[in-house]
């Protein structure tokens, strides 16, 4: 919004330290505020509703995808695993869950009320899920490109998309590392990168200078703004000696991207799940995480409803989320407004929140893998001595 | 070894028959000029006493003959003009307010935010930018005796500067070593009044340094008394008693450093004054206090005749077992050695 005002008064919004949106977004918002001067609030509500509709579609498609996948893998499934097989009935109202989780999610409501432009970013990610499941490669890649163009981190989503479209193209795939497969990966990645470059190029043409690159992506990567937020970056970097800063920024940013590789290898058969896990990781390791990212991951959470029964820490994780949601604002209030608590109080909550997200991710990962294991080997595992075996996460 | 060569180099030095006591005393110190670096490292109104400390020492050394041009005075805050000062433009070191140590002729070389660790080390080592005026430089040479006085808030191994940075004892020791290598001093008397002050000189390793500190490691140095009219502590204990001693020192005085070290016993200071003499070549008992605190030229008229012999050549040869030309060569080499450092001017 400030950016619109700045550009209206003929100042390049990128020369200051206030505005970090991308040029296309700026144009779009500018257009929106001009076209409907009184209806900007409704724009956000509209985007929110659109997200809900997209989520419902995702739900339907995903249910079909799950059943399809189950049919494909039927040979590998153990006969004893009958109970955990997904029935049609149990997934057919998945779209309702998704929509409810989005619309009545306190986080997404807060984001919408706060009129954060992150809703557009979230929408782009929802679209990429949607078109992924529809199998529309080009549009999917374009959605990812949009999201990446907005906030850089969704770049990692290219990996699951590449995996997915390879499996779509060769349903009878043998080896995910064959030259054919690599070829397909490269093709997808190049297409994705091309569309991102295209967007950046358009912005360059519109803007006429490369200044925006620094104040958008440079801002994300070098973390100059240490205003307290949900993440852990701000605290570390306010405490840190200036000369170590570059090193630690590299370490922190690598975190956001490094997990793509091992996870892609392990979850190569489950690209959609991989994509979700990457979304969660993104919101943990982002340099400026916000409620919007939490909204994103909680809205998509019901997709994995069938694995919930395998989650072991749901009580702990849920409580952590609840506590953080309540204590976070209170401590922030005490620190900033009442002045009686200090930054450490708030940071401890931000840290707890991040660990809750980590727990959620690991727990979900565990639950998913555990379910796969059970599908292969059947539910009841008996050891030789007749006791029920317990699967441990090593 | 270096010391021996230095001795041999200096042309004016004459070795004297050790059996001749007045002459020994006359040449005991071997210095030709005196410098003082006086540092108050802390700011804020409630640290009034540190400013008073350093200004009192400044006043004493000036009274004993070190000119302003040879004193580098670093004061981190301007107490005299603090709005909280009920008596503007004055600083007193005593509740009786008989001496305004912020008199008419105080020349502060580094003030306010100029008092930083960097500037302090640069002053000591002479690595100042070329544009620095002479009055802000320590233009000492290998014949200079330097008094370094520091006060502020310290801890084990550091002294805080300005609430934002600190100088560590290792840094300080290295700075002195650099000074020694660059032949910027002859002898240093290091005096520090801060908490755990002893730790600041424990890491010294350069020769000819005599050091005294107001407290041992683990002890606090305490303030002396309050001036209820100003509403602050006006001076620290150690400095207070040291000043009391210095007030009785006249330019021709024969008081020794050893006497000075006995100032402020535990019952007065409530902290243990600690001294380090192992780096110092002379006997503190025979070192007179004005070697550091004053600029006293020993010009004495004697009635008896003294036999002075030019023993330079003899001395160096006896040490190095060398012929005359070799000595010449060494001196040339050493001169070029000196030139490779960027000496001021």
């Amino acid at each position: 919004m400030e950016g619109v005002a700045l550009s209206n008064s003929m100042i390049s919004p990128y020369s200051g330290d206030l505005f970090h949106e991308t040029p296309l977004m700026l144009r779009f918002l500018d257009f929106a505020t001009r076209a409907f001067p009184n209806a900007v609030n409704y724009l956000f509500v509209f985007v929110d509703m659109l997200s809900a509709i997209v989520l419902m579609k995702i739900g339907n498609l995903f249910a079909r995808y799950l059943l399809q996948k189950q049919v494909n893998d039927i040979q590998r499934v153990s006969t004893k695993a009958e109970k955990i097989i997904i029935r049609k009935a149990s997934v057919e109202d998945l779209h309702l869950y998704l929509a409810a989780a989005h619309l009545f999610n306190p986080y997404s409501v807060a984001v919408c009320l706060g009129k954060s432009t992150a809703v557009f970013n979230n929408l782009a990610i929802y679209f990429s899920f949607l078109f992924l499941l529809q199998g529309n490669e080009l549009v999917c890649l374009f959605s990812i490109a949009m999201a990446t163009y907005q906030s850089l981190y969704p770049l990692t989503l290219l990996a699951p998309v590449a995996l997915y479209f390879y499996t779509v193209r060769n349903p009878k795939k043998v080896n995910s590392l064959s030259p054919d497969a690599v070829n397909s990966y490269v093709r997808t990645t190049v297409l994705g990168l091309l569309s991102i470059t295209g967007l950046v190029a358009i912005s360059y043409i519109l803007e006429g200078s490369t200044k925006f690159l620094y104040s958008t992506y440079g801002f994300v990567l070098s973390v100059p703004d240490l205003t307290p937020n949900l993440g852990v970056f701000w605290y570390f970097f306010t405490e840190m000696f200036e000369h170590f800063r570059t090193f630690f920024i590299c370490v922190f940013q690598i975190h956001a991207f490094i997990y793509v590789v091992p996870l892609s290898i392990r979850l190569r058969d489950h690209p959609v799940f991989l994509m979700y896990i990457l979304v969660v990781l993104m919101s943990i390791f982002k340099s400026y995480p916000s409620y919007a990212d939490v909204a994103l991951l909680t809205s998509l959470l019901p997709l994995w409803k069938h694995t919930f029964s395998y989650m072991r820490n749901k009580f702990v994780v849920t409580n952590m989320f609840v506590c953080c949601a309540v204590f976070g604002p209170i401590l922030y209030h005490l620190w900033i407004y009442a002045g009686s608590a200090n930054a450490n109080f708030y940071f401890s909550i931000a840290l707890a929140f991040s660990s809750a997200e980590v727990f959620l991710a690991t727990d979900l990962l565990f639950a998913y893998l555990r379910r796969e294991f059970d599908l292969k080997h059947g539910i009841e595992q008996k050891l030789e001595n007749g006791k029920t075996a317990q699967v441990t996460l090593e | 070894m270096i010391f021996a060569i230095l001795l041999s180099l200096s042309t004016s030095v004459l070795t004297v028959n050790t059996a001749d006591p007045p002459v020994e005393e006359f040449f005991a110190s071997n210095h030709t000029n005196n410098w003082a670096v006086l540092v108050d490292a802390s700011r804020f109104w409630f640290n009034y006493r540190h400013v008073a400390n350093v200004l009192s020492i400044y006043r004493s050394v000036k009274r004993l003959g070190i000119p302003d041009s040879h004193i580098i005075l670093m004061v981190a805050d301007d107490m005299a003009c603090n709005p909280r000062n009920p008596r503007p433009a004055t600083v007193f070191n005593n509740a009786n307010q008989n001496i305004n140590v912020y008199g008419d002729d105080v020349e502060v070389d580094y003030r306010g935010y100029e008092v930083t660790v960097e500037n302090f080390i640069r002053v000591l080592t002479g690595r100042l930018p070329p544009s620095t005026p002479r009055s802000k430089r320590l233009l000492s040479d290998e014949r200079s005796n330097i008094l370094v006085y520091m006060t502020g808030h310290g801890g084990d191994g550091f002294l805080k500067f300005q609430d934002s940075e600190e100088i560590s004892n290792v840094e300080l020791a290295d700075a002195f070593q650099q000074m020694w290598q660059k032949r910027r001093y002859h002898e240093i008397f290091f005096m520090i009044d801060t908490c755990q002050a002893e730790s600041m000189f424990q890491k010294f390793y350069s020769p000819n340094i005599l050091a005294v500190a107001s407290s041992k490691v683990g002890e606090d140095s305490l303030s002396h008394h309050v001036d209820p009219a100003i509403g602050v502590y006006v001076i620290d204990r150690y400095t207070y008693y040291a000043l009391e001693f210095l007030e009785n020192v006249q330019p021709g005085s024969k008081k020794t450093m050893d006497q000075f070290f006995k100032v402020c016993p535990k019952f007065q200071c409530q902290s243990t004054v600690s001294v380090r003499t192992d780096l110092f070549q002379r006997d503190p008992k025979k070192t007179i206090i004005t070697d550091f605190f004053g600029s006293v030229r020993n010009v004495e008229l004697l009635t008896e005749t003294l036999n002075l012999q030019d023993s330079t050549a003899e001395f160096s040869c006896s040490k190095d077992k060398c012929p005359e030309e070799k000595l010449q060569k060494t001196s040339v080499q050493l001169l070029s050695y000196a030139k490779q450092f960027p000496m001021p001017n």
Partner: protein
Amino acid sequence: MGLLSNPKQRQKIIDAVSKYNNKLCVLCYVVGVGWFLALASPYLNAQTYISENALLPGVVGNEFHFADFEVDAVLKELEGELQKDKGKLPRDWLYRQFRMIGLDTYMQNYSIKYPLHITRGQTVPGQNVYAILRARRTASTEAIVMSTPFRPKSSDLTKTTGSIVLMLGLARHFRKQPYWSKDIIFLVTDHEQIGMQAWLNGYHLLEADYIKPGELPGRSGPIQAAINLELPIGFLKSFDLKIQGLNGQLPNLDLFNLAVRLCKKEGADVTLHQQINVNGNEAFTLDGFQHTLKTMLKMMWSQAMGLPTGNHGMFHQYHIEALTIQGIHKKKSGNIQLDIAGRIVEGIFRSLNNLLERFHQSFFFYILPATNRYVSIGMYMPPFGLLCAPGLIKAIALWVGAGKETNKKEVKGDKEEKTESGKEEITSETYDQDREKKEEKTDHQEAEEEINSEEEDEEETFHPGSGILSTVPLLFSSTLMGLLCSMGPDLLASMSGSFRMNIEDGIFYGFLALFTASLIFPRMVRRKTSKGKKLQFDWQLLKCIGLIFQSLVLFSLALMNISLAFFLGVVIIPITVIVHPTSNRLLLWFQKLLLLLVSPAVLVYLTAVVGTLQEEKFTHLTTLLSKSWSNLSRGLLLTLVDRDFFGSWMFSVFSFSVLPNWLIFWGIAFCEPT
């Protein structure tokens, strides 16, 4: 992580918790309460000290005396002015006095519009007089405030004529001093806290709905600290320091210590809630402990009320440290003259003058058992945690128990039913959350509680099973009650006019009706559920949710107002942990009785009883009860007015968290045992 991923160790802990949970709960509760009360003992608390170097308390010699100021003459003049116009502030006289001293003197006009149609839309005017002493040698970047409320002759509170005279004397004295580095604002306010709020709003350029502050003609820098004086004229016995501000906020402990230190320096007795300190050694005896415990509980009680004990209380919300010095008047035994008070204030101001930055050292969260001892947040949180632990332990035990049962069910149950229930669940949830969304829009201030309860609902989506659906109506209706309760007053007030009822009574009886309605709500819910006549729901799950919600509320409160959290916790926790449905009729009635005892309405009434008991001594129980009954209705109205005037959140806390939470447990008591 080891704990979370190693199933064997986990199982052990879970087993231990579910096996010993009852004993653990009792142990935690008893130890928690005992420990907390024991904090009053000098063995467990700490000596106060000043942690801000810059203050240099008491170092300066205090010079103030009334020598060149004819106290009696000024006093006589003031008395004369007061006689002239009863019930009004002699503003013009004060204005002239400050002008004569040579200060920048201004007046602020403001108007008060009472909420709830109390004054039928009319506004009440008010005026504050203030004078600014500009620091001579600095820019006006910071300021300290000396304030005194003006009380007309008719007021039954401590007279403040002494402090007005003293303020004039001090202003005259301060004016001559060259050493000020901060501006000093002398402020005389009208209408007690309302005037103060109006002045502060005006100073910080804030607009409020009910108090319309007029523009301030003169202003200084950010206010660093404030001292409020309430001194009567004549000889004083001691000084009482009042610290509790709005919503139980406290000033920085350094400021309090400073005031105590200076009073001691001038040889004046200083008290906290009129409780003098016990002597050094006596503190370690049992008698001493009882005394300090009494002081501590008094202090906590007053903090728990969330009402400011003086005008200083308004400063806290603007991040300004402030306290009130009240002079305790005794006709014969007093030996403190006004100029001693003057010297104390002078000393405090000179120390504040030395401040370099805002108070930030020392503590903001503390409890005081004596003026020279303190209990910091680090000391009181562990016992408080223990006190709250039973709720959490029980919740975990219930969860584990419920988990086991559902596991069993899942193995047996068939799929069809499961999906059906899932469907229903989601629709009802949609409804539930839809309603909450509306709530959020209506009342943004309560967003926290909203998120909270929505989170509760979200929790349900996380796990499958049949139990959740059944708890929803109960959760829904209890939150609805909370909403009604918070909206109620405005509705009732607008209605009571047409009934020709007193507004106070209207609101009071309205609340009574609301509460009675909420008592029978389990029956209403029962009627809604078509299956049979009995309430059927997974009470274990409901209790688990309720307990977690309760712990969350208590801990959140503990961060803002430890005393309130403590008193609430002590009363509520044992009963809520015990409550469970039973078929034993006697036990059931006993439970219901207990629950009624800790219901918000009864709690509020008990508070009123204790409040009246503190004010006066009653010989007869019935008079006490009836007096507190009338106090209750007045107190209720005042709490509501406070909410609108000052932003006190006491009422909101009760209506949005305490009441719904209690209703959950009330519902459990009506539940059919499984």
